[in-house]
Symmetry: C2
Subunit: 178 residues, 2 copies
DNA sequence: CGGTATCAACTAACTGGTTGGTTGATACTA
DNA sequence: TAGTATCAACCAACCAGTTAGTTGATACCG
């Protein structure tokens, strides 16, 4: 029989999952390490053994969630309404990432952007700029402005309780109309 | 002679101002009542005498800020780009309200909307609906959707560090273009 | 194969410090 | 003097982080 009780990776995974729920609900300052450990069904000391600190666990968590989002919703520069719609849907499906990111911004300031996010952002800027050069996309905004606007529209999932994907797509369609 | 040392209203005002800074920076869970009292230059017990609790102070604070915002930036249904721009500007001038509101939503859930905000929202909906009936405003969205979109655009002041008023006005102009 | 040394994974209990909130005494004003 | 605004000191609960010690799997040795 394989042991299931003593498994480092499984324990880390359980802590990450419990931490996701806890941090998304209460934020960084409001989260309680005892609650995280209890939810994960393991000892509090494991958090410090594997992640160094409460904030260490949060950072790891956020990084993983961002990576997942970046990979699962790739940008489509020649279909920005669709991109915004898909982003919106994934935010509705997994509201935790948006809450995590919001808490992170509020509590740690605007300049501390996670590495992975900054890199992905740059790639998207370039993709949009290229589409504009190719004439596939309006030149009414510069690439940075346009990406900011499109991403911002998908955030309707967080700010407006009864927003819909259709509403987001329609708005982006109008924003980029020639 | 008027008292300057023992003045109930002055003490409340100082606590409200200190609380504004503290809550905007650290959130509700992260705020420390001792820091608020120290910043206000008065005793911690005053918070409990005048506001009942930490949360009581926060609620009072948020209510005041929302009232001020509602009064200082009235809606102009026949100039929504200008309205969004003015909202944006006031958010840039006083970033604390947006941070307060964000923390409130994150920590207290979406349904607990302050009374004053709900009432003002309803008035704005009606104003927009009327402008639509008068043909002064696009009928491409229903009134609720349209207000949500316009307000949402002004929130760029919070989500996008280098957004500008011009960018917000331009976006709203395109959103409501016939 | 049986015994045991080793080490990573894990735990219960604890620690030093902090927190929201209270209270009894004091100072001020009318 | 009566009423009230203010405060220093205090408290019980809580919290992030530590530690001394336990457990179980596996590698090694005779």
């Amino acid at each position: 029989m394989w042991s299931v009780v003593r498994d480092k990776e499984a324990t880390k995974a359980k802590l990450l999952e419990a931490g996701l729920d806890e941090f998304a609900e209460y934020g960084i300052a409001g989260a309680r390490v005892d609650r995280i450990a209890a939810k994960a069904g393991c000892n509090k000391a494991m958090i410090y053994a594997y992640f160094g600190s409460k904030e260490g666990l949060f950072d790891e968590l956020l990084k993983i969630q961002i990576d997942r989002m970046i990979k699962s919703v790739p940008i489509t520069p020649d279909d920005l309404p669709g991109y915004a719609g898909r982003l919106f849907d994934s935010y509705v499906d997994q509201p935790q990432l948006l809450r995590l990111a919001a808490y992170h911004r509020l509590e740690n300031g605007f300049d501390t952007v996670p590495e992975a996010e900054a890199v992905a952002y740059q790639h998207k800027i370039e993709a949009i700029a290229q589409a504009q050069l190719d004439g596939k996309l309006t030149a009414a905004y510069d690439a940075v402005e346009l990406l900011d606007l499109v991403v911002h529209m998908s955030i309707l999932a967080f700010t407006t309780p009864n927003a819909s994907r259709a509403m987001v797509e329609k708005a982006v369609r109008r924003l980029i109309a020639e």
